[in-house]
């Protein structure tokens, strides 16, 4: 960069100058990588580059979309009808299981009011489809076809039909990238559904495995246990299924057991996802009596406290690693 990239003169092509340049650019790249890894300026640079990236993604996706259209046209009537029947059946079954939901919700609300607990949030879902663009295989990211023009914001939780997938990371105009929960830098505050034991699920770098490294030895945990989001950390709403426990390794002399779980969401082969609008207005946040006379300036932190009070020690952990560590 110092000597300019146009230096066609022979003097700039000497092996020493070239080596110096290699060092310079190498160092620059390493600094950039370190910064991106620490999560300092990476996000800013990425969002600035979104305008540049957007048309490229359109171009890349075009042949796949064209192909899909062609195949869609020739898809036979019969297979469509079969699919239709199957979907209707599925819809009916799910409606059946949803019938009691309204009464349960009402009951839940009444019980929560009884114990003066924080009321659940209302969520909105936004449908999105995975974009057929292959990102770097080591990045643990996928791309969906909704962006800032559809109201998507960074940090939104993403689920598919079976469980939690990840969270929105970079938002472009018509696209956004999602960091999957399998990313080794991703941590998700979870709890074991059966016992309510709270812990954190880390990505392992392998799509099919999540790690729960902070489960104490004496904890009641079994293979097949359902792991759900705990709602701590204020990013993922609570109660969504994440994974099932598949392996527990109780080693002698260790404080923690090694727990592995398999994500329920189809991280590598899904196609449709739902973006959860966690920014939907919280249904009136009940403030605790002793906090009502507190000044207006710390109102926000009060609201957070009332929701998280029960889990102080963990929420500190849960907040930290949820972004980049």
């Amino acid at each position: 960069m110092v000597k300019g990239s146009t230096g066609a003169g022979t003097k700039f092509f000497g092996p020493t100058a070239q080596t110096a340049r290699l060092m310079l650019y190498g160092l620059l790249a390493v600094v950039l990588m370190a910064m991106d890894q620490r999560g300092h300026y990476g996000a800013g640079i990425r969002s600035q580059a979104a305008y540049l990236a957007e048309p490229v993604y359109h171009i890349v996706e075009w042949p796949v979309r064209a192909m899909r259209n062609v195949f869609g046209q020739v898809q036979s009537r019969r297979s469509l009808r079969q699919e239709n029947t199957a979907l209707k059946e599925q819809l009916l079954r799910q409606q059946g299981s949803l019938q009691r939901l309204d009464t349960l919700l009402e009951e839940n609300r009444r019980l929560r009011a009884l114990i003066e607990g924080a009321e659940g949030q209302a969520f909105e879902y936004q449908f999105a489809e995975l974009v057929r663009v292959d990102l770097d295989p080591f990045s643990h990211k996928v791309m969906v076809d909704r962006g800032s023009s559809d109201g998507v914001e960074a940090g939104q939780a993403v689920i598919d039909g079976a469980g939690v997938m990840g969270q929105v990371e970079d938002v472009h105009l018509h696209f956004s990238t999602i960091r999957l929960i399998s990313d080794p830098n991703h941590a998700l505050p979870v709890q074991i559904n059966r016992t309510g034991l709270r812990t954190i699920a880390f990505g392992s770098g392998v799509t099919g495995i999540l790690k729960l490294p902070t489960v104490p030895r004496q904890a009641d945990i079994r293979e097949g246990d359902l792991v759900v989001t705990s709602g701590l950390g204020d990013r993922f709403p609570g109660g969504y299924p994440v994974a099932t426990v598949t392996a527990i390794d109780r080693q002698e002399g260790q404080t923690f057991v090694l727990v592995e779980a398999t994500p329920l969401a189809a991280l590598d082969r899904g196609r449709e996802v739902l973006l959860i609008d966690a920014l939907a207005p919280k249904v009136d946040e009940p403030s605790l009596p002793d906090q009502q006379d507190a000044g207006d300036d710390n109102k926000v932190s009060d609201g957070e406290q009332s929701g998280q009070e029960a889990a102080r020690p963990e929420s500190a952990d849960a907040d930290g690693p949820e972004g980049e560590t």
Binding site: R21, L28, A29, V31, Q37, V60, R132, D136, V206
Partner: protein, 164 residues
Amino acid sequence: MIARRDRPGTFFLTLAAAIVLTLLYLPPVLDVFRPYWVALVLIYWCLESQNLVTLGKVFIIGLLLDLLGGSLLGLHALSLVILVYLVTRFRARLRFFPPWQQALSVFALLLNDRIILLWIISLRGDPLPSLVFWLPPIVGTLLWPWLFLLLDWVRAAQRRRAHT
């Protein structure tokens, strides 16, 4: 008489094609075979028309690839800068190798690149990748002679058009 300089248009066009091929959706089964297209194209241009490929340009191309592919910022920049540096260093020899020997050196270059990537992966603390990690250099080497011919053809066509 062959023109001394190539026009940068062809260079950027082939590079854009390589980037599209890098991002193009492939079914997961085929995805593991995807060669390092941008590296292959850069090696070609570096061998054939050196003054088009400077480390500064390569660095920016690498950054672009990182931004588009969502990888760690600077990862491809580092890998491509090292690759191009090595090619320019041994350019005189590489150019006059017989094709099979050239393909072998391309294999060495791509393998070296994978080792650098492996080093970065382990620095990040990610788990080490499985054996399919080593497939792309092999595919790249097998593709190299054909890619070389194709790019030669593109370049010749472009020149012919420029002359008439």
